[in-house]
């Protein structure tokens, strides 16, 4: 599996965010996106997720299950955690499992994996910021998708959870997956780094 991005450029409301951006990533590799606020880390992830059209450039995805529908091969974890306060974590995860398809771990098992097994039946409104983040991470385990696009996944996580996150990503990479992670803090796993500069 291989992801190649070349000549990528994007303009948001008349302002160029980045241009001529390119990298390739093979299965089993992780890429850390770094750079100051506003450099376009989140924008790049949203483009890769298929949520935003790039102004120029191409994204090629080869060797995957479905090469045409790249965004259906990717998990996206954004700033917003897509969590409904009125539903329990178990209900949230069961729903996403039906939606995402290609089931991997069961909702209960993924909750156990991120250390939220005890909160499975509690309304999500009672979860703390770190717990909500862990619930979002549990979503990545529900379905087999080879590309993980993570936007500051370790924000609000404590030391233990950060180690847990490292092992989740490491497992994913050993299975041949790819991960692109926007971050401001050093990640608990070895990665290549792509630095985005703030545009003038």
């Amino acid at each position: 599996m291989k992801l190649s991005v070349s000549g990528l450029a994007v303009t948001r409301s008349g302002r160029p965010v980045f241009s001529k951006l390119g990298f390739t990533l093979d299965g089993g590799e992780a890429l850390a996106l770094t750079g100051p606020n506003g450099a376009g880390k989140s924008t790049l992830l949203r483009i890769l997720a298929g949520l935003l059209p790039p102004t120029a450039g191409s994204i090629e995805w080869t060797g995957g299950h479905d090469e045409a529908h790249f965004s259906e091969e990717a998990h996206y974890l954004g700033h917003r955690d897509a969590l409904k306060p009125a539903l329990t974590p178990l209900e949230v995860l069961s729903f996403w499992q039906s939606l995402l398809g290609q089931p991997a771990l069961s909702p209960l098992d993924s909750l156990e994996r991120v250390g939220l097994g005890h909160a499975a039946y509690l309304p999500s409104a009672y979860l703390s910021a770190g717990q909500r983040r862990r619930l979002s991470l549990a979503r990545l385990l529900l379905a087999h998708r080879p590309i993980w696009l993570l936007d500051e996944p370790t924000a609000a996580l404590d030391q233990t959870s950060e180690t847990m996150f490292g092992s989740l990503v490491a497992d994913h990479l050993t299975r041949g997956g790819l991960a692109i992670i926007a971050t401001h803090t050093p990640l608990p796993i070895p990665t290549r780094t792509l630095s985005l500069r703030a545009s003038a």
Binding site: R46, A49, G50, L51, L52, P53, H69, S71, E72, A74, Y76, G78, H79, R80, D81, A82, L83, K84, P85, A86, L87, E91, F95, W96, S98, L99, L100, G101
Partner: protein, 222 residues
């Protein structure tokens, strides 16, 4: 298909939980229909004559309540991003959400209409006619509203703009809903003529509303 029904089930669950907003439209409908007899006065004949129109106008206005949250809630918390990446085509996402929305907002209006008809001194036949035409007409209203809801999903207080956008498009549904009702009560035209047009409007709104709402959601990002 599993994903489609999972989305309907989740939206029904959310609507019936605390803060879900199911029943807001129904209560609004009830309030409108209850206060009108006080305003019109105790003229049973007049009330019975304008009763079907009151029920239809109230149902139309009640449909507008809560429509602004149709896509907004999922847009705000990022669920819409994930839904777009889910593999379920976006028009089907829209269709599932609109069906769920109609089940908790439109359907209760049609089912409550005969009981509220009592307040307006409607004949049993008129009650039946209003209920049947509302059953056929409220899906059309919801699907028309879906486009407006998708266009205003990113706006903080989009409710007013939404109402202004979709209200003109709802007028044909109102016209044929009312004319089908009066045809059922013995008008010059047979009942099935305006009723068939009403159903046709519903099907038209279902196709165009679903597709245009999906386009609006996709365009809102670019």
């Amino acid at each position: 298909m599993n994903a489609f029904f999972a989305l309907i089930r989740r939206d029904l669950l959310l609507a019936t939980r605390i803060g879900g907003g199911a029943g807001v439209g129904l209560v609004f409908f009830l309030m409108l229909v209850t206060i009108i007899p006080f305003a019109v006065g105790p003229d049973m004949v007049l009330l019975a004559r304008i009763g079907p129109a009151i029920l239809w106008v109230a149902a139309l206005l009640a449909t507008l309540i809560g429509l602004d949250r149709l896509f907004q809630a999922d847009d705000e918390d990022g669920s819409l991003d994930l839904l777009r990446m889910s593999g379920l085509p976006l028009p089907l996402v829209v269709l599932a959400k609109v069906i769920a929305h109609w089940l908790v907002t439109g359907l209760p209006l049609a089912l409550a209409a005969p009981f509220l008809g009592l307040l307006l001194a409607l004949e049993p036949q008129a009650m039946a006619a209003v209920t049947v035409t509302l059953l056929a007409g409220t899906p059309a209203l919801t699907f028309i509203g879906a486009t407006g809801a998708a266009l205003t999903a990113g706006l903080r207080r989009g409710g007013l703009i939404l109402a202004v956008l979709v209200m003109p498009l709802m007028i044909p549904v109102l016209i044929f809903g009312i004319s089908a009702t009066s045809a059922a009560l013995g008008g010059p035209v047979p009942f099935h003529t305006p009723f068939a047009i009403l159903c046709g409007l519903g099907l038209f709104a279902m196709v165009t509303g679903t597709i245009s709402a999906a386009l609006a959601i996709r365009a809102s990002e670019a």
